[in-house]
Structure formats: C-alpha cells, structure tokens
Amino acid sequence: MIRDITFGQYYPGKSLLHRMDPRMKLVLTFALIVFMFVCKSFASLAVIVLLTVIAVALSGVPLKVIFKSIKPILIILIFTALLNIFYTHGTVQNGDALWISFLNGKIEIWDKGVYTAVFTMVRIVALVVISSLLTYTTTPTMLTDALERLLSPLKIFHIKVHTLAMMMTLALRFIPTLIEEIERIMNAQKARGADLETGGIVERAKALVPIFIPLMVSSFRRAYELALAMTCRCYTGGEGRTRMKQMKMKGRDLVCLFVCLAFAAGIIVLNYFAKHETFSIFGMLFFKQVI
C-alpha cells in the first residue's frame, strides 16, 4: 500500500557518521561527489571506492539497506554499461585493443568500451552509496538545518534562507501525515463503491477527484491551523531566532575533514601518475588470454 513508500530513509544509529556535524557531512559529501568526477584513472577511483567502503563500515548501516538504495538505479546502470561496451570504440593503450569481434565486425568490443563501462558503473554506484549514506545517517530535519546554516551567507542577496528551510522542514514533516490522510480518504471513498483500480487513463484520473479534493481541503485547513499555532508561539521568521540544538564542530569533524583531504590529495596524485596502466594490466590478465 501507499504506506510502504518510505520517505527520508534515515537509519537510526549512533555511529561516528551519525554523530558528525551535519554541515560537515553535507560539505564532505558534496566534495566527494566532485572528486568522483575529477578522478580519471582506476587507481584514483580505487581511492574513492576505499573511502566509500570505510564510510559504509563506519556508518553501521547494514549492507542490505545500502543495496536497497542501489536497486532503483540497477537498470540505468546496466543500460549505461551495455551502451559503453558496444558503442565506445578505441583504445586506452598502444597496440591491439580490439577484444572481441563477431558478425563480421558488426559487433565489436574494444578495451576502451569495457574500460569506460566498468569505470562509469563503479563511479555511479559509489556516488549513490555516498549520497544515500548522507540521508541514512542524517534526519531530514538536520539536513535542512545544515543547509540553512550553509546557505545563510546568501542573506546578503536578500534571499530568505530561513523561510525556505522552514518550508522544507514543514513539508518533510507532513509527508507521513498526508500519506495517512490519503489512505483514510481512499478507504472512505472505496466504502462508497469508488473504483480506483480499473478503467482507462481518463477514468482513473477522474476517479482521483474524490480523493484529491478532500485532501486539498484538509491540507489547507491543516496549514491554517499550523500557521496559527506558530504565530501563537511568537514565530516571526528567522530574525533573532535562536536554536535549541546548537550545531558544533567537534574534534571528530576535523579528523574526518583531514582524512577526506588526504584522500583527495591521493586522487589528484594518482590521476597524474597512474594513467591507465592498472586497467591495462587487469585487461591483459583476465580477458586477452581467455579469448
């Protein structure tokens, strides 16, 4: 049912990653994603993979849960890999690089194709894992809070960062409530014989009217009530507002920062010094001989 859609995939825990300052997490995640696109060789990609593995291990989030975040992109992953394998021709080294050729050369697999396929796949998986680690270890509220803090310099351009963040927090907070509400209204209309499952697109769209109108009505009512409740508690926006939970950078955040900096340096260095050799050796060992 509708309830099964999990939103905000926070996985409760007390690991180092859970306790880190969300601002630092956000910045580091962003930086890591950038570095994923910086790395050009397998050696530097390996550094990213290593860092991802360490992060997963530190987070205490079970592998099963991590795999769940990869599942939705599996098709995209396979599709990109296949496209790369069959349509990227060329070589990453000198010499004979055509690995397989059949149907009189209509289908060819070159080493560059396999190289790019593997490379992109690893990169996408690492990207998804790293960014879902952020949401696994940080509640949506903490994330918006961190975002608000990080974006607060934008105030000088008269952008209402606090208001935007508050809107986001409220929206996130009300998603489960809305899901419950939809379920309730759906049941009530089904009890009056509403048919939501059969019929063509037009009929189905029409069948949604009895659900969306009550939903809109109650959402507006809820919004007014919430606004009133906030006003009653003297909410006047971000001006002069203090926080109950202060975000503080601690020693561990600095340590994580330095570790990530070290890895970043490693990536840059390896980009220069280990071009494609690792991959070529890998290719030689496993493919050339088999074929």
Partner: protein, 288 residues
C-alpha cells in the same frame, strides 16, 4: 437464514513481513445476525476499526474468511464489489470525505458507483436526506459551507443512500456536542426502526451503547473478550475496568445504591430508566 456477516478465524497483520508488523486481529470468530443492532466497544488501539474494515472487504484478512449473507466476499471481483454496497461503512469523521459541488451530488456518489439510473439515484438522495434531516435548501449548498454537525449528517446520508443491508458506524458521534450526540444516536435508531437494517456501531460511549444496542461485543487487544447482551456485558464491571473500559455512570450509581441496601435493581443502564426507578422509590416512601 444466513448470518448478515460472518467472520471465520480472521487474523490481520499490518505491514506484514516488516519489522514494524502489528497483529491487530487475532483469530476472530464472529457473527452478526440480520436486523440486529450491535455495539462494539474496546479501548483505543484494540482493533475495532480494523475489525469493521473487514466487513466490506477494505482489508484483506491475513488468514481467515469473511462471509456476507453466506457468500465469501473474496470469491470473485463481483462479490467483493457487491460487499461494498451491501455493507455501508461510515468511518470516523466522515465529513472529511465530502468532495462534490453540492451536498446532493455528494450523497449521489455511492448510488452512482452502483450504476443505478437517474430516477432511482434522485429518489435515494431524497430519502437519505430525509433520514438525516437535511432540507432541500441544504442539499443545493456546497458541502464545505455546512456546519460540522451538518457535514457529518451529509456524509452519513452518502452511505445510507446506497441502501446497504448492514450499516456500520465507526464512532459516529465523535467530536459532537451532547445535543448533537443525542440527535445522531436518535437518527441512527430511527433509521434502523424504519428500514429494519442491521446496524453495527463502534463507540467509546458506554451510555450510548447500553441505551441502544441489542448485543455488545468487547474487543480487547485484537481479540473478542466478551459477546453478549447489554446485561451480560455490563454486569462484568471489574473485567471491563481491567480492559480500560467502564460501565455507564448510571449503572455504577445503581450498583452502589444496591450495595448500600436500597431496594433498587443493579442492572440499570439508562438515565431515563434510573430516574423512573428513583421516582417510584421516592413516591413509594411518601405513600407509606
């Protein structure tokens, strides 16, 4: 004659197979006879709403069967569809399901889904509106312009218009003032007297249940703890209290009076009856 509704070994789990699995109903066996008025009571979260959602097939039992008029409602798609019309379910706060431009159109939503013809729909809307006391003028208003109590009645009319043979209410009087509450309970009993329809009411008000029900079912932690007449159930005061329930106030007063040695019966469930007895008692003393 077959039972109006019969549940055979019904078990229901929410979010089955996930860590948050909750067994809301455990092996329920239950029959509701034609023409009965059954009251269901139970503390918050005991599974009353879950139970009644099985009566018209909104929830599919994890195991067990639901029969209406002797046919399994899951026999085919058609029997499931028919079960929605045979058993009218009116949820808690039904006013939040209103959506049409006018009250009349909203009441007609159910009959329309039954694919009835125009004239029949018109007739049913008029009849249902008269049951709940909505004037013609109100029928042409937008449902969102009605007062809370009127909205509630409009929504109930929407279920009545399907002319179900069993009408189920989940806390019909929740959030109404005492007068509105009384009016609503009267409306339901009147409807039942006029149509002879089977009625099931879930309520937190022991007074209301004691006043109108033929039979009371007590649900406790997903199981049926008691099932009997008003007398049978409310005489087990201690057990009810251990389940977080209670007997009507008036019953407590009378059992206390009885214990103090007054010549009054213990089993008094309505204030009207209680007043009568006390008056008789006082007059009896005067005449002595």
């Amino acid at each position: 004659m077959s039972h109006a509704i019969e549940l055979q070994n019904v078990t229901y789990c929410y979010s089955e197979g996930t860590p948050s699995q909750v067994t809301a109903l455990k092996d329920i066996n239950l029959t509701i006879e034609q023409g009965e008025l059954v009251g269901i009571i139970g503390h918050t979260g005991s599974g009353k709403s879950t139970l009644i959602s099985h009566f018209n097939g909104l929830l599919k039992p994890t195991s067990g069967k639901v029969l209406i008029d002797g046919t399994d409602i899951r026999e085919s798609k058609e029997t499931l569809r028919q079960s929605r019309f045979k058993v009218g379910l009116c949820f808690q706060y039904p006013e939040y399901q209103l959506f049409e431009e006018t009250v009349a159109k909203d009441i007609a939503f159910g009959p329309k889904n039954m694919k009835l013809d125009e004239d029949e729909i018109k007739r049913r809307v008029a009849v249902a509106a008269s049951y709940v006391g909505l004037s013609d003028e109100m029928l042409e208003k937008s449902p969102f312009d009605l007062s809370g109590g009127e909205k509630r009645r409009a929504a109930i009319a929407g279920v009545m218009a399907m002319e179900p043979s069993v009408l189920v209410f989940d806390e019909p009087a929740a959030g109404l003032d005492p007068a509105g509450r009384k009016e609503l309970i009267k409306l339901i009993t009147d409807y039942r007297n006029k149509t002879g329809c089977t009625v099931v009411i879930v309520s937190h008000s022991m007074e209301d249940i004691a006043k109108i029900a033929d039979r009371v079912i007590v649900v406790n932690d997903g199981m049926i703890a008691m099932n009997g007449t008003v007398d049978e159930v409310f005489s087990r005061c201690d057990e009810l209290q251990s389940m977080g329930l209670d007997v009507p106030e008036i019953t407590r007063i009378f059992s206390r009076l009885h214990a103090l040695g007054f010549d009054v019966p213990e089993n008094v469930y309505s204030v009207d009856k209680g007043t009568e007895i006390i008056r008789a008692l006082i007059e009896g003393r005067r005449s002595v």
